[in-house]
C-alpha cells in the first residue's frame, strides 16, 4: 500500500482540480455557442416570445401553428416564453450581443414603444431579413410598412399590435373614460394602477393634456410627469405594473388600470365584468416586432416569418391571443371561423378607433434625462 498521505493528498488535489477543471469546461459548454448564422436552413428554429402570445391547445398541450410549421417545412421549433419585460430581457442578452456572440435564438420579440427595439437595430445587433424568403411580406398592413425605427423594414416584422387604454371593473365602478378621471376621481383612490412603460403612461397623459405623444418636447414631458407624480403622491395610483395589473384587477383589488387591450380580452373568460376602452382623448398603439438577433439563422427565421404572414395562420394565432394582427386578410378568415372575434373592436379596431391611437415618439424613449426622471417616478 503506497503511503496513505499521498492518497489523501491526491484526493484533495483531485477534488480541487476537478472543480477548477469543470469550471472552464462548463463555461465553454454552456456559454453561447455561435449559432447557425449564415445561409443555410437549420433543422431547428429557436424562438423567444412573451408569455401567452401564441396559440395554445390546452388539451393537447401544444402550439398548433408551430406544429403546422414543422409539418410543412420539417423545421422543429424550440419555443421559449422567457421575455417578460423588454428591459429585463435586453439586460440579459446585451452582453453577448455586444461582443458579437450569438444568444442561441433565431427570433426574439421586442416592443416598439420601449427603447430597446430601436437600440438593437441601431447597434447592429440584428440580422437582415431575407425578403426573398418572405413573399407574404405583401400582406403587411399599410400602417406598419414604415416605422421610424426601421423605415425599410429591413430588420423587423410585426408580430402583433396592441393598444394602451383604460380597463375597469364594472362591479366596482362605472366606466372610466379619461385619464383625468383615473387620476383624480376620489372614488377610485388607491384602487388604480398605471403601466410602468415609459411609452404607455406618459403617452396617455400627454394625450389627455392635449399634447402629441409622437412628438415629445421637454414641456410636454414635464407636464405629463408632473401629473403622474402628483397622482402617485396623493395615493391615487396604487402602484406601477407590467402585466401584473391583470390579477388584482380581476380579483377586485383594483377598480381600474391603465391596461393593454389583448389582456382584457383574455381575462373576460374568468371575469366578465371587466371592460376596456381607449380614453376619449385617445390612446397609444404599439407593436411587438420579430427581429433576428446576431447569430440567428436568417433563412430559418425568414421562413417562419413568411409562414405566420399567411392570413390563415395569423387568424389562428389571433384567435387565441386577441391582439391586433398586422396581417391583412386575417379578419376575413376569422369572419368564417370566429365571427364574434372578427367583430371585436379590441382585435380589429375600426378606422374610427384607429384614428384615436397614436404611436409614441421613439426618440424620446432614448432620452437619458427622461429615462432617469421616469425611473424616479416609478420609485426607484
Amino acid at each position: 500500500m503506497s503511503t496513505p498521505i499521498t492518497r489523501r493528498q491526491l484526493v484533495e488535489r483531485g477534488a480541487a482540480g476537478l472543480t477548477l477543471l469543470s469550471l472552464p469546461g462548463l463555461l465553454a459548454a454552456c456559454g453561447g455557442s455561435s449559432g447557425g448564422g449564415g445561409g443555410e436552413l437549420a433543422d431547428v428554429l429557436r424562438f423567444s416570445n412573451w408569455p401567452l402570445y401564441i396559440d395554445y391547445d390546452e388539451k393537447a398541450k401544444t402550439h398548433p401553428t408551430l406544429d403546422q410549421f414543422t409539418a410543412k417545412t420539417g423545421i422543429k421549433v424550440e419555443y421559449f416564453e422567457d421575455i417578460n419585460s423588454n428591459a429585463e430581457y435586453f439586460g440579459k442578452i446585451q452582453r453577448p450581443l455586444s461582443q458579437g456572440q450569438s444568444i442561441d435564438r433565431d427570433i426574439i420579440v421586442l416592443t416598439d414603444n420601449e427603447r430597446f427595439l430601436g437600440l438593437m437595430i441601431d447597434k447592429g445587433w440584428v440580422e437582415e431579413l431575407d425578403k426573398d424568403l418572405i413573399p407574404n411580406f405583401t400582406n403587411l398592413i399599410d400602417a406598419q410598412k414604415s416605422p421610424p425605427f426601421d423605415p425599410d423594414r429591413k430588420y423587423s416584422l410585426p408580430w402583433q399590435s396592441g393598444m394602451t387604454g383604460i380597463a375597469w371593473n364594472e362591479k366596482i365602478t362605472g366606466p372610466v373614460t379619461t385619464v383625468t378621471q383615473l387620476f383624480e376621481d376620489p372614488k377610485l383612490k388607491g384602487k388604480v394602477t398605471a403601466l410602468n412603460g415609459m411609452g404607455d403612461t406618459p403617452g396617455l397623459v400627454m394625450l389627455d393634456n392635449g399634447d402629441d405623444p409622437s412628438n415629445v418636447t421637454d414641456e410636454t414631458w414635464n407636464a405629463a410627469v408632473e401629473r403622474i407624480q402628483s397622482a402617485v403622491d396623493s395615493g391615487q395610483i396604487r402602484r406601477f405594473t407590467g402585466n401584473d395589473y391583470a390579477q388584482p384587477l380581476s380579483q377586485g383589488d383594483l377598480a381600474a388600470a391603465i391596461a393593454w387591450s389583448g389582456d382584457i380580452y383574455q381575462l373576460l373568460s374568468s371575469n366578465p365584468s371587466l371592460k376596456w376602452a381607449l380614453p376619449t382623448k385617445g390612446g397609444i398603439i404599439w407593436t411587438d416586432n420579430m427581429i433576428i438577433p446576431t447569430g440567428g439563422s436568417v433563412p430559418t427565421a425568414s421562413t417562419y416569418m413568411n409562414f405566420v404572414y399567411d392570413p390563415k395562420i395569423a387568424a389562428q394565432i389571433t384567435a387565441y391571443v386577441a391582439y391586433v394582427p398586422p396581417v391583412s386578410g386575417t379578419q376575413a378568415v376569422l369572419q368564417k371561423s370566429d365571427p364574434e372575434l372578427a367583430k371585436s373592436q379590441l382585435v380589429f379596431p375600426s378606422d374610427e378607433v384607429l384614428a384615436k391611437t397614436h404611436q409614441y415618439d421613439s426618440a424620446a424613449l432614448n432620452n437619458q434625462d427622461y429615462i432617469e426622471q421616469w425611473q424616479r417616478v416609478l420609485g426607484a
Binding site: T3, T6, R8, A87, G91, N366, A380
Partner: protein, 285 residues
C-alpha cells in the same frame, strides 16, 4: 517518506486552497470589480470610462437616502417582530415539547422549503382586498371600510418578517436548547420566581442565539427587494429595488455598483458595532 509528512505544515494550506481560491475568485474579485465599476461614469449607449467618479456615491446617497433609511427601518422592525414572535415559540419547543422537539423544529423550518417567491405570492392571496383577512379586519374596525393591507408598508414588513422568521427562530432555539436545566433548578432552589429565573438565567444564556438570529435576519432583510416589489408600492421600495432596477432595467451600472457598495458598507459598519458590543467569537464561532 511522503511529501506531506515532510511538509506537515502544508496540510492546512492544501485543505484551504480550493475553497479559498473559489471565494477569492468569486467573492472577493467581484467586489473589487464592483468597486471599480462604481467609480466609472457614462451611460449604456455611450460606454463607461473609469474616472474616479466619486460623485456616483454622493449622488446615490442624496438621491436615495430615503430608500436606505427605509430599508434599515423595515429590516429592523421585521427583525424585532421576528424575535418577539419566535422567542416564545422556540421557548415552548425547547422546554416543553419533550420528545417531539425535532418534529416541531421541522415545522418551523418547513416554510423555507416552499420557494421564496411562491410563499410570498401566497400572501397576495391571503391578504387580498376582498379576502377573509382584510374582511375580518374591516369588520372589527381595525381597517377602514376602504382599507387594505396589500400595497402598504404593513404588508411589506409582514412579508419580510414571515420570510425570515425561521432564521431568527433556529439560532435562538439552539442556544435555548443548550441551557442546562439544572441551572434553572438551581435558580428555583435559590427562591427565584419563574419570572426572575427567566430574566436572569434563561434570557442571558440565550443571548448568543439572539445575536446570531438578529444578524441572520437583519442582513438579508435589509437587502431584500422581492417583498417590496410584490406586496408594496414604489413608496415602499427599498434599496434592493433601486439596485435591481438600475442594474437590470435602466442599465446604469456605475450607480448600481455605488449603491451596492454603500449598502454593504453600512451593513459592515453595523456589524462591527454589533460585534464590538457582543464579542467577535460569538459571530464567527
Amino acid at each position: 517518506m511522503s511529501f506531506l509528512h515532510r511538509h506537515k505544515g502544508l496540510t492546512p494550506y492544501l485543505l484551504l486552497l480550493p475553497g479559498i481560491l473559489w471565494l477569492a475568485l468569486f467573492f472577493v474579485a467581484p467586489l473589487g470589480f464592483l468597486g471599480y465599476q462604481s467609480l466609472q461614469s457614462g451611460t449604456f449607449d455611450t460606454g463607461y470610462t473609469f474616472d474616479w467618479a466619486f460623485s456616483n456615491y454622493w449622488n446615490a446617497i442624496s438621491d436615495y437616502h430615503e430608500q436606505f433609511v427605509r430599508s434599515f427601518v423595515y429590516a429592523g422592525i421585521a427583525t424585532i417582530l421576528a424575535l418577539l414572535v419566535s422567542y416564545p415559540l422556540v421557548y415552548w419547543i425547547a422546554f416543553r415539547a419533550g420528545r417531539w422537539k425535532n418534529v416541531f423544529l421541522i415545522l418551523i423550518v418547513a416554510p423555507l422549503f416552499v420557494t421564496y417567491l411562491v410563499r410570498t405570492l401566497a400572501w397576495l392571496n391571503i391578504l387580498a382586498d376582498e379576502g377573509p383577512v382584510v374582511g375580518f379586519l374591516r369588520d372589527i374596525h381595525v381597517l377602514g371600510p376602504d382599507g387594505r393591507l396589500l400595497a402598504t408598508s404593513v404588508a411589506v414588513v409582514a412579508g419580510i418578517t414571515y420570510n425570515f422568521l425561521p432564521f431568527m427562530a433556529l439560532p435562538v432555539y439552539v442556544s435555548l436548547e443548550q441551557i442546562d436545566a439544572r441551572l434553572l433548578e438551581a435558580a428555583e432552589d435559590l427562591y427565584a420566581s419563574k419570572r426572575q429565573a427567566f430574566l436572569h438565567v434563561t434570557l442571558p444564556l440565550s443571548a448568543p442565539g439572539i445575536v446570531a438570529g438578529t444578524l441572520l435576519t437583519f442582513i438579508p432583510a435589509a437587502g431584500d427587494f422581492i417583498n417590496a416589489q410584490l406586496l408594496g408600492t414604489p413608496r415602499q421600495y427599498m434599496v434592493g429595488n433601486v439596485i435591481q432596477s438600475k442594474f437590470l432595467d435602466v442599465l446604469d451600472y456605475p450607480s448600481a455598483a455605488a449603491l451596492s457598495f454603500i449598502l454593504m458598507a453600512l451593513i459592515l459598519v453595523g456589524l462591527l458595532a454589533y460585534a464590538r458590543a457582543v464579542g467577535t467569537e460569538r459571530l464567527t464561532g
